[in-house]
């Protein structure tokens, strides 16, 4: 007899999904691509400079903001390593507002604040099925300096976003942060990614 039981915590309820899913690419250098790239740069600057009100203004109120965990796997399931059953971030617009509210009060993890630089590269854009919405995949490299520690904490990730055009500017509707480490080298995610 081979032992078999049911568990909804199955590893392979996850899928391989990475990068863009839409085939309708928005080419590099096109007006929409440029506007989105500028938006990403503005967003990184707002977060690096801790202008949280400016960042909040860039968020759609139906925002979904997640960071699934990564798992080291081998064999036939070796690429099925983004585990969308468990998260480092599992947030929506209201919980992000709660986190920002906390940062304005007693959030010792960011008081004193970290000094952060978010490097955004490898940006790819495609049209979504919905008019005015764009899939945006970018690479994030974060350098985070804390206190008097001369060694920065750092992390790299792929961000799979949906940005929505609203009255000539873009709002972040979805962000999935695919971190590269299965064991994070950073002691907390008290900063946004």
């Amino acid at each position: 007899m081979t032992w078999k039981t049911q568990s909804t915590a199955s590893l392979d309820s996850t899928n391989i999904l990475r990068g863009l899913t839409s085939l309708k690419r928005v080419p590099l250098g096109s007006p929409v691509y440029n506007a989105i790239l500028e938006t990403l740069f503005n967003e990184a600057a707002a977060l690096d400079e801790r202008r949280f009100d400016d960042w909040t203004a860039m968020l759609a109120t139906d925002l979904i903001y997640t960071a699934p965990i990564r798992l080291t796997r081998t064999g036939p399931t070796r690429d099925r390593d983004v585990m969308r059953s468990m998260f480092h971030f599992d947030d929506d617009y209201n919980s992000i507002l709660m986190r920002i509210g906390r940062l304005h009060k007693s959030a010792w993890a960011e008081d004193p604040p970290s000094r952060c630089r978010r490097f955004i590269t490898n940006v790819r854009v495609a049209e979504c099925g919905t008019e005015g919405e764009y899939e945006v995949v970018s690479y994030l490299f974060l350098e985070r300096s804390r206190g008097d520690n001369p060694e920065n904490e750092r992390m790299s990730a792929e961000r799979r976003d949906v940005w929505r055009e609203v009255n000539g500017s873009f709002k972040l509707a979805t962000r999935e942060i695919i971190v590269d480490q299965s064991v994070l080298g950073m002691a907390n995610f008290a900063v946004f990614l």
Partner: protein
């Protein structure tokens, strides 16, 4: 008279000079000392029961996960008979990791170096090119299996130890079992792990989160004051120390070093503060406010799986936070949601040593298996937002611990002591049903001091 410990470090310092039982102090030096760390590997982590995984992670034959028993990497695998096995992930041939994945399903674990192969229970199958006997001439295959740890599954939680003839798991839990059963053994199908654990490194010695896990309630008021400022716990930013929400309850503990803080919901959370249980039966109370993680549909199961006294405690003053010695934090808390969704966050952490100055924080997030999918979804979100990597509670802990460790190295600062002098002493509250060491009232240092006494005892046993 306290029995003296024979443990003496190479510079002549005695364990009794570091864990000062006469005055309830602990030398700050213990929070980074390398020599102590090496002894801890042998006397604490190779001797006691350690939490590794949950039954629901490996539901089928051949399923496995790979975890760490301190610095020993192990494979936790289910065999064809359904038994859970914990084997050292070290090939007895040339010392390579036999399994390089973190999780998966394999009927056979074959080392990628020279190909020695093992069953999920660790038994040696053979080496390639069988006729050449590459496992050795006249060597009995039975002696070549992976080193096996002793396993105990408690409420679905998979524990293991290298101490093959040591205390049973029930002896290890002692009087605290009565209380932990209320969290882990209360429903027919039990808990379910909602996904593989969060893992991250905090640059600090394992004992800093370890001693905090022994029910340090007091730090909540200051380090976690954002809970009060955000209006989640009772009180306001101005009245935190006057009202002291979440501080008054009954702390339970035992000589083995485990502990739990039992708290009335109304004393802890603003949104429950107007609930009055007066004159209500246990069942009515449970329906008014089920304990964290329990839905109304599961209430009949509580009566089936627990004693009437245990259910009464769950209905009135449920255990919510605490720890299992040496390195487990228990977080089974009410987590009120603004959107009115399912309340409760159930998480366990292990603080796995990764050298004297690093600890891996492993965050296991649970829900009861038999609750609706939406409840699981809500509870996952509650736990991720409160605990672990981005948790608004535990972000702040992870920022404090490394600073304590850095302070433990200076010639002047390492002779400083941690103070555990705010002691209540064991006192049985009127009508209290469970056993163990009991500390009613404001949370004090007793439970953490018991943790150090348990540490001292193990470190003194060669």
């Amino acid at each position: 008279m306290l029995q003296k410990s024979s443990l003496t470090l190479s510079d002549g310092t005695k364990l009794d000079d570091l864990i000062i039982r006469e005055s309830n102090e602990v030398s700050l030096r213990v929070m980074s000392d390398k020599e102590l760390y090496d002894i801890e590997m042998e006397r604490v982590f190779a001797k006691t029961w350690l939490l590794l995984a949950h039954d629901t992670e490996i539901p089928n034959s051949g399923d496995f996960v790979v975890r760490d028993m301190a610095e020993d990497n192990v494979i936790i695998a289910r065999d064809r008979e359904g038994n859970v096995n914990v084997s050292l992930n070290v090939c007895p041939h040339r010392g390579m990791r036999v399994c390089t994945a973190e999780a998966g399903n394999k009927p056979i674990h074959q080392c990628i170096y020279h190909g020695w192969a093992f069953k999920p229970d660790g038994d040696f199958i053979g080496a390639p090119v069988e006729r050449e006997k590459m496992h050795g001439n006249d060597v009995d295959k039975k002696t070549l299996g992976l080193k096996k740890a002793r396993v105990h599954v408690y409420g679905g939680l998979i524990f293991a130890t290298w101490n093959i003839d040591g205390p049973s798991f029930d002896e290890f839990l002692g009087d605290s079992k009565y209380y932990f059963d209320q969290l882990f053994c209360r429903t027919d199908s039990g808990l379910e792990l909602l996904g593989p654990p969060q893992r991250f490194i905090v640059p600090c010695n394992w004992k800093i989160p370890g001693e905090q896990s022994a029910s340090d309630g007091f730090h909540t008021l200051t380090l976690h004051r954002s809970l009060m400022e955000g209006g989640i716990m009772g009180g306001t930013a101005e009245s935190i120390y006057d009202q002291a929400p979440g501080m008054y309850g009954v702390d339970i503990s035992c000589p083995q070093g485990h502990s739990l803080r039992c708290l009335e919901a109304a004393q802890t959370f603003k949104m429950f503060s107007d609930i009055s249980f007066e004159g209500k039966s246990v069942e009515e109370r449970l329906n008014m406010l089920p304990p964290p993680g329990i839905t109304p549909e599961l209430i009949p199961q509580l009566f089936k799986n627990l004693s009437a006294d245990q259910v009464e405690q769950l209905a009135t003053i449920p255990p919510q936070v605490g720890g299992i010695f040496p390195n487990i934090l228990v977080l089974f808390i009410f987590a009120p949601r603004m959107d009115g969704g399912s309340s409760g966050a159930l998480a366990l952490h292990t603080y796995v040593p990764r050298g004297p100055d690093k600890v891996e924080f492993v965050n296991f997030i649970f829900a009861e298996k038999d609750v609706p999918e939406q409840v699981k979804r809500d509870m996952l979100q509650n736990s991720v937002q409160a605990s672990g990597t981005s948790g608004t509670i535990e972000q702040d802990d992870a920022d404090v611990w490394p600073q304590i460790m850095r302070n433990s190295r200076g010639a002047a600062s390492k002779t400083m002591t941690l103070k555990y002098k705010a002691l209540h002493g064991h006192e049985r509250p009127e009508g209290w049903k469970g056993d163990g060491l009991l500390y009613p009232g404001f949370t004090k240092d007793d439970t953490q001091w018991n943790w150090w006494l348990a540490y001292h005892k193990l470190m003194s046993e060669a």
